[in-house]
């Protein structure tokens, strides 16, 4: 299914896979596989703060995440499809979430739940990662502080929509995004730019 590596391929951080032109077979297969995948996503809950409480509410009876095929929480990253970071991520946990992400098999997706996971939120300080997208690639950001279960479910449905639009003909979405020789998953300038203060935090000074 087009997963042959191009001879001499592998430029930089990502392995390049030969593309397959879309045809009737791949589009039918896409429909079947994406239907199966999007309706049985096993989340790896990475709950660090109050967002995790809302996530538990989403999974419980009233909102019932099982309706979306997510009733099976995968506490082992090796059986997980979706890494769901619910809560703020301190720098001390950055290597932990990175290892969990690396241990998840392809295909895998990441949902960043809440303001802190998406941008650092109110914690624009020395201890907090300013958005988990500086550590792992993120597919869906769910805004809110914390997001209501409806918000999270909307984010999950967006992810399902994204999965349903994927195609075997585009294997680049399965490229493993590894940490480069610089020790960073992204160029340093990108991380600095993503971590720039915004909103109220621009009024905080860097000095004492």
């Amino acid at each position: 299914m087009g997963l042959t590596t191009v001879p001499g391929g592998g430029t930089g951080d990502t392995a390049v896979v030969a593309p397959v032109s879309p045809n009737w077979v791949t589009s039918r297969l896409d429909f079947l596989i994406n239907w199966a995948r999007s309706n049985s996503m096993w989340p790896m809950p990475f709950g660090t703060a109050c967002c995790a409480i809302e996530f538990m509410a989403s999974a419980a009876a009233r909102y019932d995440l099982a309706r979306f095929g997510m009733e099976r929480m995968s506490f082992s990253p090796r059986q997980a499809d979706v890494l769901l970071c619910a809560g703020r991520l301190p720098f001390k946990l950055a290597p932990v979430i990175r290892r969990i992400y690396d241990q998840m098999p392809q295909p895998k997706w990441v949902i960043s739940m809440g303001a802190c996971a998406s941008s650092g939120g109110i914690f624009d300080n020395y201890a907090m990662v300013q958005g988990i997208d500086t550590v792992v690639p993120v597919d869906v950001y769910v805004p809110g502080c914390p997001p209501r279960p409806e918000g999270l479910i909307y984010g999950i449905m967006m992810l399902q929509k994204k999965v349903k639009g994927e195609s075997l003909a585009d294997p680049s979405i399965r490229n493993e995004q590894v940490i480069g020789p610089s020790g960073l998953p992204l160029p340093a300038e990108r991380i600095d730019e993503l971590s720039e203060p915004f909103g109220n935090s621009i009024h905080q000074t860097r000095s004492a």
Partner: protein, 210 residues
């Protein structure tokens, strides 16, 4: 005013620099050289009996001229009386006080936290390492007033150092020895821990040493 303050003055004289009250709490400022004796006396003397160290923390005032303070919040369980003892550490001298782990075992992690956040060294502490920040944290002491809110390094450098922190490499010998100490546990606990997820007892593990 807590009567322990007068008793301390009678016992230690000039080592008790100042006694004040604030919001009903008696605060005793003690000479840094004698603080170990004072605290030991407060715990061991029958009439005092401050057998619980409720908190150990430090203060750096916004006024840069003022010295740092190490604060010991003591509590006498039997008498239900609390006392606050403070030590001043001028900034132009070594930030160092004797450890009180030998007096109150619970001071261990509180002293590590003060060391982590303020850079105050506790002489004689059994295992003085950072506790909140990771072992290789190189930006300094976050609760000091000269520490910038967002840290000293750029965000990219902070992410790089965090991702390369390799947390497993920095467990203390004590933490590592927990796995090896299974042979010293009572038999029923050992069996319970040794039973895997399937509820079967694996072959007994031979001690690696000793």
């Amino acid at each position: 005013m807590n009567p322990s303050a007068a008793a301390l003055k009678a016992q230690f004289g000039g080592a008790i620099r100042r006694v004040t009250t604030s919001c009903g709490a008696t605060i005793v400022l003690v000479d840094a050289a004698r603080v170990s004796d004072v605290l030991r006396w407060l715990k061991a003397t029958p009439g005092e009996g401050y057998n619980y160290l409720a908190d150990l923390t430090a203060v750096e005032h916004r006024d840069g001229e003022r010295p740092l303070e190490v604060v010991y919040q003591l509590y006498a369980m039997e008498r239900k009386v609390s006392l606050r003892v403070k030590v001043e550490l001028p900034k132009d001298q070594a930030l160092e006080v004797p450890s009180v782990v030998s007096i109150w075992r619970g001071a261990d992690w509180m002293e590590r936290e003060v060391y982590d956040m303020f850079g105050i060294t506790f002489r004689g502490h059994p295992d003085l390492r950072r506790i909140l920040m990771w072992e290789t944290y190189a930006e300094g002491y976050p609760l000091r007033k000269d520490f910038p809110l967002r840290g000293r390094f750029s965000r990219a450098e902070q992410v790089r150092q965090a991702l390369n922190a390799n947390p497993e490499a920095h467990y203390s010998m004590e933490e590592l020895s927990i796995a090896e100490a299974i042979h010293e546990l009572p038999k029923d606990m050992r069996d319970r821990l040794a039973r895997g997820e399937r509820g079967q007892l694996p072959e007994p593990i031979e001690p690696s040493h000793g």
